[in-house]
């Protein structure tokens, strides 16, 4: 008799008759899909970064390769792949070669637990957020490995600073997430997203579908908003983005822990950084911005109108004016989208409007909203990079330990008190009615 059943693969789709083989096929397919998506997303993200940087600095950015420079990320990827693989002699060769993979594995392992669609993640754990925080720690070890094995003291300093920064900022991140977990009551990412569908701020009217108002960051007035801001600042520090990018400060430490890396090995670090940006944005989206929920629950056609309007408007205006000063185009397109949304608005699920089977319409809609929110947060990260100056390392640590951590603790306390509002409201009402001291 085996009291505990291990390897229960009953969830595997029936492809071949064998459950184990099916499990392997599913795992392989999902990982293949995710890796491809990460690669394409990281590439396009580099293009977006350079374009946005250019426009913020009143220049054009990449322009020549492809229409408005859109294919420059493919060119970059090819360049990195065919570059010479330099491994210096003073390095610890095994660790030098291993560390990009450890860093990338730490980021990639987080992608499998994110709630992309309502009801489906590649691997939905009931300890979701705990798993995400745990495997992000592999990134720290990889960074230390990289800095140490580079054989250069500047790389080592960069690695140690980066590791200290990441590990320090995990504290306010953890505490703010803890406060939000008090509200949701579960560690499961899918359930956290689903819990933001109903309820108005301060827990009133728990049956009403509030859309934007029932999202995590509106749940307890300014306190969850403060939690979101603390989390976002911590996330900027976790991914070594400006204003916290001392470890890769180009003007100060050459390139920090990945100074000695070139070619394909460097591209892994690059991929890992952008993948990490998506992961922290995804966690912020799940906890604070409603995950895959739409901001206007009654208006389902709004999404298609919005996306279509923005795209069409932007493209039309951009093509008309060469040089793509697309701000006016974007405003026009968005305005068109909002107008269409208001006009087409009304009750109805997207699968009523289009001939899609019921579940898939909702799933695709959920995925589009999730990705849009993540990309909006990533855009914010890129925007901040080219706007704010860099923190000095002691200012960075001071900010974390002396300002964010106490603020996060106080926030946790207040959210905890507010979460028991039913009990203290009842106490107050009883005391007022009963009058007993």
């Amino acid at each position: 008799m085996t009291p505990i059943a291990l390897a229960d693969a009953s969830w595997a789709i029936q492809i071949t008759g064998n459950a184990v083989f099916d499990a392997f096929v599913c795992i392989f397919a999902v990982c293949f899909l995710l890796i491809n998506f990460i690669a394409v997303y990281a590439g396009v993200s580099t293009y977006a970064e350079r374009k946005i940087a250019g426009h913020m600095q009143a220049r054009v950015g990449p322009y020549r390769i492809g229409p408005h420079g859109f294919l420059v990320w493919i060119a970059d990827a090819l360049k990195l792949m065919i570059k010479e693989d330099i491994v210096a002699t003073q390095t610890d060769k095994l660790l030098f070669k291993l560390s990009p993979y450890v860093v990338f594995a730490g980021s990639f392992a987080c992608w499998v637990a994110l709630p992309y669609m309502p009801g489906w993640s590649p691997a939905n754990f009931n300890i979701g957020i705990l798993y995400l925080l745990a495997v992000s720690s592999a990134v720290v070890i990889g960074i230390l490995m990289a800095g140490w094995s580079s054989g250069s003291k500047w790389a080592l300093f960069g690695a140690m600073r980066s590791a200290a920064q990441i590990v320090s900022y995990e504290v306010p991140i953890g505490i703010t997430l803890l406060g939000m977990l008090l509200i949701y009551g579960t560690l499961d990412m899918q359930e956290i997203s689903a819990a933001q569908e109903f309820g108005l701020p301060f827990g009133l009217m728990a049956d009403k579908q509030g859309g934007l108002w029932s999202w995590g960051l509106n749940r307890y007035g300014p306190f969850t908003l403060i939690a979101f801001l603390i989390y976002y600042i911590g996330a900027l520090a976790e991914t070594n983005r400006t204003p916290f990018d001392i470890p890769e400060a180009e003007s100060e430490l050459v390139a920090g822990y990945h100074t000695e890396y070139s070619g394909m090995r460097f591209s892994f670090f690059f991929l890992a950084e952008y993948a990490n940006m998506f992961v922290v944005s995804a966690i912020a989206t799940t906890f604070f911005l409603g995950g895959w929920l739409p901001p206007f629950p009654d208006v389902h056609a709004a999404i298609y109108a919005l996306v279509g309007g923005v795209a069409l408007g932007g493209m039309a205006y951009g093509y008309k004016k060469s040089g793509f000063d697309g701000t006016v185009g974007f405003i026009a397109g968005s305005g068109l989208g909002v107008l269409l949304a208001v006009l087409l608005g009304g009750k109805g699920e997207p699968h009523d409007a289009f001939l899609l089977p019921p579940g898939i319409g909702r799933a695709i809609e959920g995925m589009i909203w999730f990705s849009s929110k993540c990309f909006a947060l990533i855009f914010l990260m890129i925007w901040l990079r080219w706007t704010l100056p860099r923190y000095r390392v002691d200012q960075l640590m001071d900010l974390c330990w002396k300002k964010l951590t106490p603020l996060a603790f106080m926030n946790l306390l207040v959210i905890g008190v507010l979460e028991t509002r039913h009990e203290w409201m009842k106490l107050i009402i009883d005391r007022v009615k009963g009058g007993t001291p």
Binding site: T2, P3, I4, L6
Partner: protein, 106 residues
Amino acid sequence: MIFTRHPLEHMLLLSAVIFCCGVYTILTRKNAVSILMGVELVLNAANINFVAFSQYTRIGGIHGNIFTIFVILLAAAEAAVALAIIIGMYQNFGKVDVDQADNMKE
């Protein structure tokens, strides 16, 4: 051919081997941080044992799992204190060799 799942004894043997590697590390190493790594190996072996007994059989409920959480917690606290002592030792004596930390010997 009938394949059966590995029995509990194999997990306990794994834990015993890791335990002995940890004890060997503690006995032979001169660097204080290495000795701490040996202690971590010993604690991990004990944890694997606890969780194995708790998950392969259900005698006494999941007390093994809960005790493992306690052991992880205590290992973290102990490692922090031990490393603080080691860094203090480095700052005062310039080396972390336990064979040469004999100031109190006559």
